[in-house]
């Protein structure tokens, strides 16, 4: 049977976290100094954890691939962060936040973790405010809230359109203070290459210095991964260029189970692709759907004429526009959840109604004409001025006059390294936090909840739970990795791996492979998945892998900065992650949240969940390069909440 022990504490849902804290082991102050912790990642999760652990007295080594911890991709989050403060007095409670998150995740997340997340959400807002994060305020001087998709209350705190930036800079400031005090040693422009296991426990990492190419080893009593999500497997996504799944993947190959890899979120409102050389997709905030109406032409000829540049959006008369979300979902209209909106757009473009002149004709209109008529241009400008300006800079189109073009884009990975209640992976001493783990969002993440989770993990959960592990490590002396066999072996294997990459000496660039992979992922492991398509994807990805390892071309040197080599290392892992994603999607014979299998839909085209068979977390175990991974199931039990079907057609 299963090897998974999720270590959920005893007691009522609402008491679990307090019970845990009351009985867990702690490390005494004089011993903390003797313990080293490696934190990989400086995003909301990693940055917050590194700072908090150092404040407690542990010696922390913190790593990121950028030139500064402040540049982790959390910086790009726009919308906001949820918390159950109930400042607006509109009836929010910890339970309601918990409930919305579980329901939004389509009942595929672990109840106890989510409840704890909701519980600590309020502390995050207090902490950030104390750090000087300039959240939006009312004239009263008190904090302002706004509402976000999937909730009946206003619980989202925000800092203009830059909430992630401000929260990250808050964590970064705390981290900078600890670096200045000498409690954190910061390694910028350093990439994790492998995790080192000694006697079954995570004992350190091997890294590559991205400036010099040097391979180095670092020892620690525990290793924490806060390395973010892996949706760049699709090549085009809203993630940063360097966002990668490699750290989680190296952990997987060392024995950490990978959970729900196929659960990724496709955000409905990004700017569509414009051409073959496009490198990433830019998100347009979800809030735009509050005032914009989404449509495509009713006639195929009109759509074609628009794509060919013969007609403009404004040439299409009112009665020739198909407001398909309003048509299909009268109750929620343009405000249906992300997964539903994204799928509906794909359905229209697949049928030939797309309006953007890109290879697949992928794009739909988001029209503000009606809102401008109703509210006036001023109001719209006040609400979305920044976004409109950003849109115009990118597209050279004025959204006040012509409708915006949007299309769904890969955005977030709900899946990730499997962790127990303590955020520990299946490798003792290896922890995973933030987007890198799988824990809190089930099959779909609600807006403004990723920031909450990253900071909850980093500030308020991991600093407790890691001590329950470290309390048993106080007898383990610091060791010099140069003298430990396992470190030497790991270094050697990293070096030979990189040499192998450099040695292929083929003809095709890394980006070409990455794009090829992205193509397969988008078409077959994207918004609408089928058994046939997924099997095809697995075969194609295996072919890409073969071609990659025989025809890759990397210029430059191994012992120096080499951007192509960095990319190759990441893409090699994306290829394998992509395969596991397809495998997981194939295994899950149901539709839930972001995972939509065409075979499993209702007559009306809505997702069909199969709770009797699939109410579990799929945790995959690596069995070797030529072996199929082994599936372990963590059954999900809901005690504090009634399991229901999501319905957005009627209220």
């Amino acid at each position: 049977m299963t090897k998974l022990n999720s270590k959920i504490p005893e007691g009522l849902l609402k008491d679990k976290w307090s019970n845990y804290k009351a009985h867990q082991n702690l490390v005494n102050p004089s011993n903390k100094r003797k313990l080293d912790i490696i934190v990989v990642g400086t995003g909301l999760a990693g940055g917050a954890a590194a700072a908090s652990l150092a404040e407690l007295g542990f010696k922390v080594k913190n790593f990121c691939y950028q030139d500064s911890p402040r540049r982790a991709h959390s910086i790009a989050a726009q919308g906001g962060i949820n918390a159950a403060k109930n400042y607006p007095n509109d009836g929010d409670t910890v339970y309601r936040l918990f409930y919305d998150t579980i329901k939004g995740g389509d009942y595929r997340s672990r109840e106890s973790n989510v409840y704890r997340l909701a519980e600590v959400s309020n502390d995050i807002i207090d902490q950030a405010t104390a750090q000087g994060v300039p959240f939006a305020r009312e004239y009263s001087g008190l904090l302002d809230n706004r509402s976000f998709g999937g909730a009946l209350v206003s619980r989202t705190f925000y800092a203009r359109g830059q909430t992630g930036q401000q929260l990250l800079l808050g964590a970064y400031s705390a981290l900078s203070r600890q670096i200045g005090l000498g409690n954190v040693t910061m390694y910028n422009r350093t990439e994790l290459m492998d995790i080192v296991i000694v006697d079954g426990k995570a004992r350190g990492i091997v890294t590559r210095n991205l400036i010099t190419g040097e391979i180095e080893s670092h020892f620690a009593h525990a290793v924490v991964l806060g390395t973010g999500g892996y949706v760049n497997a699709y090549f085009l996504s809203t993630n940063a260029m360097g966002s990668n799944g490699s750290a989680s993947w190296k952990a997987y190959k060392k024995g950490a189970f990978f959970a729900n890899p196929s659960f990724v979120q496709i955000h409905p409102t990004a700017i569509p692709q414009h051409g073959e050389f496009q490198s990433k997709l830019t998100l347009m905030s979800e809030s735009l759907r509050n005032d914009g109406r989404i449509w495509v032409p009713k006639n195929l000829e009109d759509a074609k004429a628009i794509r060919e540049g013969k007609k403009k959006a404004t040439d299409i008369p009112e009665d020739q526009r198909d407001f398909y979300l309003e048509r299909r979902y009268p109750a929620f209209g343009n405000l249906v959840p992300r997964d539903v909106a994204a799928r509906a757009a794909k359905e229209r473009t697949d049928a030939g109604y797309g309006i953007e002149n890109n290879p697949a004709g992928e794009g739909v209109y988001l029209d503000f004409k009606y809102a401008i008529e109703r509210l006036g241009k001023n109001v719209i400008e006040e609400r979305y001025g920044n976004l409109f300006q950003m849109y115009e800079k990118i597209t050279d189109d004025n959204p006040y006059i012509t409708p915006m073009k949007i299309f769904p884009a890969l955005h977030y990975a709900m899946g990730g390294t499997w962790v127990d209640y303590e955020l520990q992976t299946t490798i003792p001493g290896l922890f995973s936090i933030g987007e890198a783990n799988f824990s809190d969002h089930g099959a779909n993440r609600l807006g403004a909840s990723a920031l909450m989770q990253g900071l909850a993990d980093g500030y308020f959960v991991l600093p407790y739970t890691i001590q329950n592990y470290l309390a048993y490590e106080i007898g383990t002396p610091r060791s010099n990795p140069k003298e430990v066999k396992e470190f030497k072996e790991a270094e050697e294997s990293v070096k030979s791996y990189l040499n192998k990459l450099m040695g292929i000496k083929g003809k095709t660039s890394v980006d070409t492979f990455h794009k090829r992979l992205g193509h397969v992922m988008w078409n077959n492991v994207g918004m609408a998945r089928t058994e046939e398509g997924l099997k095809e994807a697995i075969a194609e990805i295996q072919q890409i892998k073969k071609d990659f390892w025989s025809d890759l071309k990397i210029t430059g040197e191994i012992n120096a900065m080499n951007v192509e080599l960095e990319k190759a290392n990441r893409v090699a892992d994306f290829i394998e992650i992509g395969e596991l994603m397809a495998r997981d999607a194939l295994n899950r014979n149901e539709s839930c949240g972001g995972h939509f299998r065409l075979e499993y839909q209702t007559d009306e085209g809505e997702a069909m969940r199969r709770d009797d068979k699939f109410m579990y977390v799929a945790a995959w175990e690596y069995k070797g390069d030529d072996q199929e991974p082994e599936l372990h199931k963590e059954e999900l039990k809901y005690e504090g909440i009634e399991v229901k079907t999501r319905n957005y057609k009627s209220a």
Partner: protein, 252 residues
């Protein structure tokens, strides 16, 4: 979205590493879509170079949406190129003409040594932040977020300052390579908020002391930084930094 294609000539600074002498190399690219971003154009150049068996041009970038502050580049005499309120990753090729020669240089400043090609080392900014760019609170034990009301005006102004992305364009464009705009943004943000006010003097002193050590020049108020700053950080923050610094000195 009227996109056409243009042909361009590039003059790009190439430098093997920090210690090797660099020089300009000329490249030509044809049929670049004006709808693509500047960095996508650089991607095309790099694909071409790799295809020819050469090393691609190293340049910093990550988010490609103007928020991480990682991208740099001095393009045709301007930090982040010839457009206002954008980072290089937000700059688009429609800003350039057919047959135009585009000169691309790294940030040039004593405080930002070149690492390779167009990549520079901005660690000096890290050191400045570590000297005082924070409120000295630790995790936990803080008051309720609404315990201290903050006038909306102050909070908004603090947010203006806080939107600095730490890109270094201010230093790059300043004729004196001064880092005052960057430092002032953080000092000003925290001085405006009651949480940060308590340490305002100390912060200003410590951050300026480190800034002075790291090879940045003296601000002479030309205002070029403000004009080239992708986030429009105002010189008014420098005035506040000066004020905090003078107050710190008087208090001593």
């Amino acid at each position: 979205m009227s996109s056409k294609t243009i042909n361009i000539k590039l003059k790009v600074w190439r430098q093997k590493d920090a210690t090797t002498k660099g020089k300009f190399e000329n490249y030509e690219l044809s049929e670049i879509s004006t709808a693509s971003s500047f960095l996508e154009m650089m991607d095309v150049l790099n694909e071409k170079l790799v295809g020819e068996g050469n090393e691609p041009v190293a340049f910093d970038h990550d988010c490609r949406e103007g928020i991480c502050g990682m991208c740099s580049l001095f393009v045709n005499g301007h930090a982040h190129g010839p457009d206002t309120l954008v980072t290089t990753c937000q700059l688009h090729m429609r800003k350039f003409k057919d047959d135009e020669t585009i000169t691309i240089e790294p940030w040039r400043a004593g405080g930002f040594p070149v690492i390779k090609d167009l990549m520079v080392d901005r660690n000096a900014f890290e050191k400045i932040m570590q000297a005082g760019g924070f409120v000295s609170v630790s995790t936990g034990g803080v008051p309720d977020a609404n315990a201290i009301p903050i006038p909306k005006k102050d909070s908004d102004e603090a947010m203006d300052a806080a939107s600095c992305i730490g890109c270094g364009a201010c230093v790059a464009t300043c004729k004196n390579s001064s880092a005052m705009l960057f430092v002032s943004a953080k000092v000003s943000q925290l001085a405006l908020l009651p949480q940060g006010k308590l340490e305002a003097s100390r912060r200003a002193k410590n951050m300026v002391a480190v800034m002075d050590e790291l090879g940045f020049g003296n601000c002479s108020n030309t205002g070029a930084c403000e004009m080239e700053c992708p986030k429009g950080i105002s010189l008014a923050h420098i005035a506040r930094l000066n004020r905090e610094f003078l107050v710190a000195t008087i208090k001593e």
